[in-house]
Symmetry: C2
Amino acid sequence: MSETVKVGLIGFGIMGKAHADNIKTIEGCQLVAVADSKPERLKSAKEQFGSDIAVFEDLDAMLDSGKIGAVFVAVPHYFHPEMAIKAFDKGMHVLIEKPAGVYTKHVREMNAAAEKSGKVFGIMFNQRSIPAHQKIKDLVDSGELGEIKRTNWIITNWYRPQSYYDSGGWRATWKGEGGGILLNQCPHQLDLWQWMCGMPAKVRAYCSFGKYHDIEVEDDVTGYVEYENGATGVFISSTGEAPGSNRFEIAADNGSLVFEGGKIAFWRNRVSERQFNKTFKGTFGTPECWKCEIPADGKTPNEQHKTVLQDWVNSINTGSKLLAPGAEGLNSLLLSNAMLLSSWTDTMIELDNFDDDMFFSMLQERIANSKANKKSNKN
Amino acid sequence: MSETVKVGLIGFGIMGKAHADNIKTIEGCQLVAVADSKPERLKSAKEQFGSDIAVFEDLDAMLDSGKIGAVFVAVPHYFHPEMAIKAFDKGMHVLIEKPAGVYTKHVREMNAAAEKSGKVFGIMFNQRSIPAHQKIKDLVDSGELGEIKRTNWIITNWYRPQSYYDSGGWRATWKGEGGGILLNQCPHQLDLWQWMCGMPAKVRAYCSFGKYHDIEVEDDVTGYVEYENGATGVFISSTGEAPGSNRFEIAADNGSLVFEGGKIAFWRNRVSERQFNKTFKGTFGTPECWKCEIPADGKTPNEQHKTVLQDWVNSINTGSKLLAPGAEGLNSLLLSNAMLLSSWTDTMIELDNFDDDMFFSMLQERIANSKANKKSNKN
């Protein structure tokens, strides 16, 4: 048996208590410390866990305490790379909340630090643990679907009223969050999309900023992508639609898959389209097609987080492969950054040649002009 | 009572016999003549209708015969405007098959000739007669849906195998047809889309030419549009997907509508989203939403054609408003031409400033390089 992983939780905000409760249920690890810059939150941690837990206002103090060997970074997006890099430099294993960060430049630095450290680096893409998502990935990876021709995700059921944005002056500002729906609401879908179907080669997006709300950042997005094999894709999201849709479709050589309402339908061609196309002799005709209902049972959100936590601890203890490797957090952020950059520059963005510095500098311009508190600065 | 409308049918090809049979069932009109450049087709018309019918190898001869007051133009796309213009110049009422033509320049000339003649000008957009389509238009026009935010039509169930394209040397060539899926398969959807939701202001499309088939023209399209009110839209079509999808969605202020599998679902907000957005005080929340199943009974294809024919004849006889005015054929063709021009020029196209001449000249280049017979010219 390996040793118990001693975990320090960084950030004891809204999700902090839930994360702490989850960590306590995970086998092979122990929550030994909490770091947060706000004393009242540390007081609340002490009340919850008693004298078992060490608390730190200063992150460095926790990292240098000798009490922990791993950290879970659960602070606002901007701080994920910075704190993860610190932890790697101190030889810690790291799990970060999603998104990986706000801009790719920073996340690449984090990935390099992780690589250099050789430690286990995970990211809380808890939705990768949902059986239906795993099943869709399985249908792609196993070849059941055949070569992908087109992907399409309409994920517009992220409705947020103005009151949501007004509930925190930092919300939906370039300075406070660094992005809108792509960074705050969509990281799971952007991750699942690339996890299941692979990364596109090019992105052309049309983002609208403050279209449905009094906010600085994007609240409505249509993104068009092209993959290396010539396949195309569309990703549509909005916080301005009610009730909104959540429908994911993959068109492929062996048929098409639709995931909607928690159900996976696979319209399966008896012979592949490419084969049919080559051999069919009539004028009109289509491959024989069967509607297959694919089993896809769900889990509760709480179990999803526990699954990723347990997986990370197991990897530390046994060297097992991670369900959600931290380095892969770059992919969804790259999609998100590329959609913004495409809108800002009105161009098609090639992901292999993504200009991290240009994105960073265009983001900085927006941060410089950011109205940190929307209400007091509104015209 | 008005006089019986005496109709001359131009084109007695594959659809000719069916059209002739339909015309004979329409009240207030009579099929008195058929024109076709191929003698064997005229022979077949004579066999079908006996001595009641006059036949002409020459269109001008039919128009000058004094026997007819109206024509139905059912010839290949390229000839619609040319023949319609001739007929208007001779004072005929005109019904044309869809699409209105191959390029907007020509169709605008046809519309001007129609306008000048003052005659009744219809187009065979038979799918406008389908009750479900009329119901969706009704939900938009009556304000039930409220202001439109987003439209989305995935119409990829136009599968065609290579053998279809090989069945005629003219098929899917710039010279023979002047376009691919946008011109041959999609005119109904492009028309219904603009008929129900209005014309967009801008079009940016990504067309692939001969992607899934050995053809010259487009067989795969993703089009992004923006409307005057800021709404966005996406139109996706392909002849390379099996089984393909047919799903039409409208997201609007009062909810969202999905038309799929012949069923209309209207997810109706009890208060509009814009109203909710202004007045809701909590952090998270959405308008109460009801799933409404909207009645949408269908008609057979044959009845659709008869409905449009009867409507055209009624308009000639009584001055009633047309379900499918011929001049509106420009709209779907403009969408189709704009999607091609956007792909060719790699730019966003503004429809109000559409460059008919540029499209025409870029099409001519392609016609000049067209391999009329694909099989014999294939590398």
